[in-house]
């Protein structure tokens, strides 16, 4: 490492500085621990602890024969575990490892400074893994021991307690907040990255553009927020909180996928609509969920013929959009032939029993498509079906297996089987995935939709009504629709949300989180440009932002300098008055000598400025009187003297 090339080590740092350094590195490890492999975290903690203990006993560096193999071991372990050394995760693992190993050869102030700087860098790298508020706060707190360690490296500082050493860093960071905020708002954002692709978002579960049996289990147990929705007006009923994301019309026997049509959106007749605003978390998908059927596509998306909103590019950062959706509507009342064909398509050679049942229903109910759908719902309701997130595996004829053997599954099984049944009976049908339900945050007045609210249902085309939503899961487990996913999966009746104060706290926490993800994480180039609209500037470009940034930096520099130069007025007004008089007289060339008393000096000044002899002699007399004839001079006289000094203008003598 760098140490081998070093010139001179310098004196060892004291124990406090080393403790603070260890604390800094400990925080770094803790922040990275969330995604580092456990064995690496554990061994780094051990190395840190051993080094701390060893340095406490005797200052000095670890021997080279210990350092070199450890560095090699780290590199090999990282390559072995991640497969390469580049990329975010192996890079972070390597950085944290090297930081801890750097501590082994840190004994002098110089090394400690390098170590702290590297620690700051690694702290920031932790944010690449997730920029949530908790992680960010953690990193900000990690800056405290870093500052304290740097401070403790200064020779000759005053001794202080451990906490006393941490506190000034807080003050320093607090003083930096205004400038940091202005810089954050004004630093021009890049339209496209300079290098590399943006990190593949968080490898987190989310809705996928394909649906196959068993796909959604991870999703239904993931409590991360998917989006937050604030409504203009009353909150829709629980049974109306269907957020459509993907509409899937293509079935290949195993799973469902979107139909690829380049056609424009189908007609929509609206009788009731609602306005709302969605704050979407990053999900790396190319779809923006919308309540029921969106009426128009917001900027950045295109509306597909099935009224799904297809984004221009994947959602890699949190974003927010305003929308209007229809709650009562007729969607595509006249079905075109192509769509009819596509939504009746079934692959050959799959699910013969289901096809037979469909054909039987068609014969039984004649042309009444609605009756066929009702029959299917009745089947799910009364056929001995059960809702479970751990259903038995299905064979090649998955729908047959599900309908006639296992009878257990969750939303996607029901939606898929229902749609196949409808198509077998000759009724156009398709699967829709999205979210259902959500949690109403009273404090923030918004609906919090989690990944676990993901849901799949079906849409059936009925003559005269267009596409109508059918939710076969509701037939099996009605509370899934009326109460939401949490109630539906709480099989044992034990409800974690029952504690009032905890709920209130979680509400609050989520409000802050929302503010964070909208105000900080979601503050992108687009919002930065629109930021100045209230001031009459339509599109703030990079030059304007840069100018504003420079102006505010100068402004802050001015404020800071004013603070730095500001000196509390010394307590003695007489001395101040005398100093000001000396200053004025020095301006015309009469400087007070160090050995000169006020009387001598002012008499000399009076001789040098004969026009002002009287004034100077009076000032001298007053000053001497106030200074030496009183224990505490009367305030009025002191003020008079100060005024006299202020009004005194020495005039240069023309020789």
């Amino acid at each position: 490492m760098i140490g081998f090339l070093r010139r001179k080590p310098g004196p060892p740092i004291d124990a406090r500085a080393f403790d603070l350094l260890c604390l800094t590195i400990g925080v770094v490890i803790a922040l990275h621990a969330a995604y580092l492999p456990a064995w690496l975290t554990a061994s780094l903690v051990v190395v840190l602890g051993v080094r701390w203990w060893q340095r406490r006993r005797k200052p000095g560096n670890a021997p080279v024969y210990l350092k070199l193999p450890l560095v090699g071991l780290l590199a090999v372990a990282v390559i072995f575990y991640y497969g390469n050394i580049f990329g975010r995760e192996p890079g972070s693992a390597l950085a944290v490892g090297l930081l801890v190993l750097k501590l082994l050869e840190t004994d002098s102030a110089r090394d400690a400074r390098v170590c702290v700087a590297f620690a700051c860098f690694t702290l920031m790298a932790a944010l690449l893994a997730g920029q949530g508020m908790v992680a960010t706060t953690g990193v900000a707190l990690g800056l405290l021991p870093a500052m304290a360690a740097l401070r403790a490296l200064q020779p000759g500082r005053m001794a202080s307690s451990f906490l006393g050493d941490l506190r000034p860093g807080l003050g320093l960071l607090a003083a930096a907040i205004p400038l940091a905020l202005v810089a954050f708002v004004l630093v021009p954002r890049l339209d496209s990255p300079i290098w590399g692709a943006p990190p593949g978002a968080q490898a987190r579960t989310g809705l996928s553009d394909r649906l196959a049996p068993g796909d959604m289990v991870d999703l239904l147990t993931d409590d991360h927020p998917a989006m937050r929705v604030a409504f203009d007006g009353p909150l829709p009923d629980p049974a109306q909180r269907y957020f459509r994301a993907y509409v899937m019309g293509h079935f290949d026997g195993r799973g469902w996928a979107q139909l690829t049509t380049g056609r424009t959106a189908s007609p929509l007749e609206v009788s009731k609509s609602i306005r709302y605003r969605v704050s979407l978390e990053a999900n790396n998908q190319r779809v923006w969920p919308a309540l029921d059927v969106p009426m128009e596509a917001p900027a950045g998306t295109r509306m597909a013929s099935d009224h799904a909103l297809v984004a221009d590019r994947p959602v890699t950062d949190a974003l927010s959009y305003a929308m209007q959706s229809a709650l009562q509507y007729r969607l595509q009342p006249d079905l075109d032939d192509l769509t009819r064909r596509q939504t009746l398509q079934l692959p050959a050679g799959f699910n013969p029993r289901t096809l037979a049942l469909g054909a039987q229903w068609r014969a039984q109910y004649g042309n009444d498509d609605a009756a066929i759908a009702r029959a299917a719902m009745t089947l799910f309701h009364d056929g001995g079906f059960s809702y479970t997130l751990a259903p038995a595996p299905l064979g090649r004829h998955s729908v047959d297996d599900f309908l006639f053997n296992t009878h257990e599954g969750f939303c996607e099984h029901y939606a898929s089987a229902f749609t196949v049944l409808m198509r077998s009976a000759g009724v156009p049908a398709r699967v829709v995935t999205g979210y259902l339900g959500g949690y109403w945050n009273k404090l923030g007045e918004y609906l919090l939709v989690r990944q676990s609210d993901a849901h799949a249902w079906a849409e059936v085309w009925l003559t005269g009504k267009g596409w109508v939503r059918f939710d076969p899961t509701g037939a099996v487990r009605p509370e899934r629709i009326s109460l939401g996913a949490a109630a539906a999966s709480a099989a044992g009746g034990q409800d974690g949300g029952g504690i009032g104060w905890l709920n209130a706290m979680l509400d609050r926490f989520d409000v802050v989180n929302r503010w964070w993800s909208e105000g900080v994480i979601g503050f992108d180039a687009l919002r930065q440009r629109g930021m100045l609209t209230p001031f009459g500037i339509r599109d703030a470009d990079t030059t304007l932002l840069g100018t504003l940034l420079a102006i505010s930096c100068v402004l802050f520099a001015g404020i800071g300098l004013a603070w730095a130069m500001w000196q509390r007025g010394a307590g003695d007004p007489l001395r101040n008055a005398m100093q000001s008089l000396e200053h004025k007289l020095a301006g015309v060339g009469i400087e007070r000598r160090p050995s000169e008393g006020p009387q001598h000096y002012l008499l000399r000044a009076a001789r040098a400025l004969p026009h002002q002899r009287d004034a100077l002699e009076r000032l001298m007399k007053d000053y001497l009187d106030l200074r030496y004839a009183h224990d505490s001079p009367p305030a009025e006289s002191v003020r008079r003297l100060c005024r006299a000094v202020r009004d005194f203008r020495p005039r240069r003598v023309v020789k």
């Binding site: 860098f121 920031m124 944010l127 690449l128 920029q131 000759g156 500082r157 930096a176 000196q567």
Partner: protein, 321 residues
Amino acid sequence: MAAWSESVQRLLGWAEARLPALTRYRQLEALPITLHRRRIYIVPSAFGLLFTVLLGIMLIGALNYANNAALLLSCLLGGASVASMLIAFRNLDGLRVTSIQPGHAMAGEPVMLQIHLDAATRVRQAVMVDLNGQTEATSIVPPHVATMSLALPTRRRGWQALPRIRVWTHWPIGLFRAWSWLHPSMQVLVWPRPESGGPPPTFLSDDPLRQRLHRGEDLAALRDYRAGDPPRHIAWKASARHESLLVKDFEQPAPHEDWQLDWRQLPELGQEARISRLARWLSEAEASGRATSLWLPEERIERGVGPAHFARCMNALAKLP
């Protein structure tokens, strides 16, 4: 390494010649000296430059990955760095160097300087003072005055001017170095270096003190007869057992005698040799507690004893042309 620091020195020399603001305070100034904004300079330290580069990388990385949290914290760190510059400035602003008390030293030995720093109104932490390549650090809490001891190497006797003194700080986090040069109009008197060996002082035979030396009462030793010894000092009994005459040598109470050191005693030596011999005699007399008087061409110091007298004599020697 040496070449590098040499070129840095050359660059500094050039800068001082070119920039009046830097050279301005090279002229002598009387103590006390108050540091104020027009004489405090600030530049980033080497670590500050490294840190700036690192901050830049963080900033570009955050922008590249559109990572607003990292961007915010990088801005925060940058803001804190800027604030630390102002704190470094305030750490020196208004600081006063009230006085410098020199110690005594012979030429060739370092003289200790006691530099007194007054904090005025604020606590000053980690203030460092550089003098001739050595550095001392201290913190000053307002009502108290901090004293720093620094050694100034000396070469030759006489008045020696103080070199420029640098008061500086890296406070609080080492990103910036704030400093101010002082050139106090003060001189240190360096004593002459005593010669390393040589004869003891001899005195003119007609000196009345010389007579008295041999009138001691106690027998100190026997020695061979020399022409001129008084016959009553001959030790007849002892001489009888010896092949030559032995003389009783009485103890000479010399250590308790005054030494009257005189410039004129040493006509054969050069100026500096005379001075260093007198310095040695004075040092020996001081070490053995003997009273001395010192006659110099222009000055006559009456007999005396003790450190103050010694210092007076040495000062007089040091000031000789």
